[in-house]
């Protein structure tokens, strides 16, 4: 089961879940992903071992895609 989550004021919210072969669920996840991108969030796939990749399209095979907010110098 793959998940799309957004880090927000609740800790994090699950926006969508999909499995390989469930195209309808994946399409819904893509819609949610694009909506968050339009809202200013940034998609990131954590790859463990200190690595993460920013994504602009929802990777179907990723276990977990995290939407984060932009950072800035304080």
């Amino acid at each position: 089961m793959s998940r799309l989550i957004r880090m927000d004021h609740t800790g994090h919210s699950t926006l969508a879940e999909w499995t390989a072969g469930d195209q309808a669920a994946y399409d819904a996840a893509v819609t949610a992903f694009r909506r968050e991108l339009d809202g200013g969030y940034i998609g990131v796939v954590s790859e463990g071992e200190g690595r993460a990749t920013q994504v602009r399209e929802l990777p179907a095979e990723a276990d977990l895609v995290i939407m984060r907010r932009p950072i800035a110098g304080g």
Partner: protein, 213 residues
């Protein structure tokens, strides 16, 4: 489609990318700044004493200035990782769970006791806090302090750390470039101004940085 560079870099186009070399330059400039503050006050104290021993109290004040001013810069550096802002206690356990999933066992344990997430990178060993980060360069002799935070005050503390951690893991050089550099100096200078809870994290980062040199 994936991207290697942080999109936040577009907000700071005038900044040159931070590299090991630029960080070394920053460290040298901070050392120079420290000496520029310390040496004149020390010379003043000595000269005054040689001219007129009764001026010793004035000399003592000059020596105090030589000690206090660099200390204030170190306070500025240590403040970058001091917890501040709303705590959002209701959401914190959920955020802590996600952050824990992003960290390995040792880093998770360290974060829960110190509030700082340790991350090994190409530039050195990072300690990521809610609204800032420390970087101990390989060798463990210099600690850089950065101010950087995710947008929005309503995020729980662990979520703030997770935001910074993911950005750091995506593009370490970009992360250091986007962040505002606040201070560079010997780790002991920063350590003295950290909260007691946070001190073990800096000790662990220095140890890791020495091991990686």
């Amino acid at each position: 489609m994936s991207e290697a560079a942080l999109p936040e870099l577009a907000a700071v186009p005038w900044r040159k990318p931070e590299t090991a070399a630029t960080l070394r330059t920053r460290a040298r400039l901070w050392s120079l700044t420290m000496w520029a503050h310390v040496v004149p006050f020390c010379i003043t104290a000595v000269v005054l004493f040689l001219i007129e021993p009764w001026s010793a109290p004035v000399g003592a004040i000059a020596l105090a200035q030589a000690w206090i001013i660099p200390g204030l810069y170190a306070v500025r550096g240590a403040n970058t990782v001091r917890p501040r802002g709303p705590r959002n206690d209701d959401a914190e356990p959920v955020a802590q769970g996600l952050l824990g999933d992003l960290l390995d066992h040792d880093a998770r344990k360290l974060q829960r006791t110190t509030g700082l997430a340790m991350e090994r990178g190409g530039l050195g060993v990072w300690l990521v806090a809610e609204r800032g980060a420390l970087l101990v360069v390989p060798g463990g002799r210099v600690c850089h302090c950065f101010c950087v935070a995710a947008d929005g005050d309503e995020l729980p503390p662990s979520d703030r750390i997770a935001h910074l951690l993911l950005a750091l893991r995506t593009d370490e050089q970009g992360f250091a470039t986007v962040a505002n550099h606040a201070f560079a100096g010997a780790p002991w200078r920063v350590r003295r101004r950290l909260s007691p809870d946070a001190k073990p994290a800096l000790a662990a980062a220095v140890h890791a940085a020495r091991s990686s040199a």
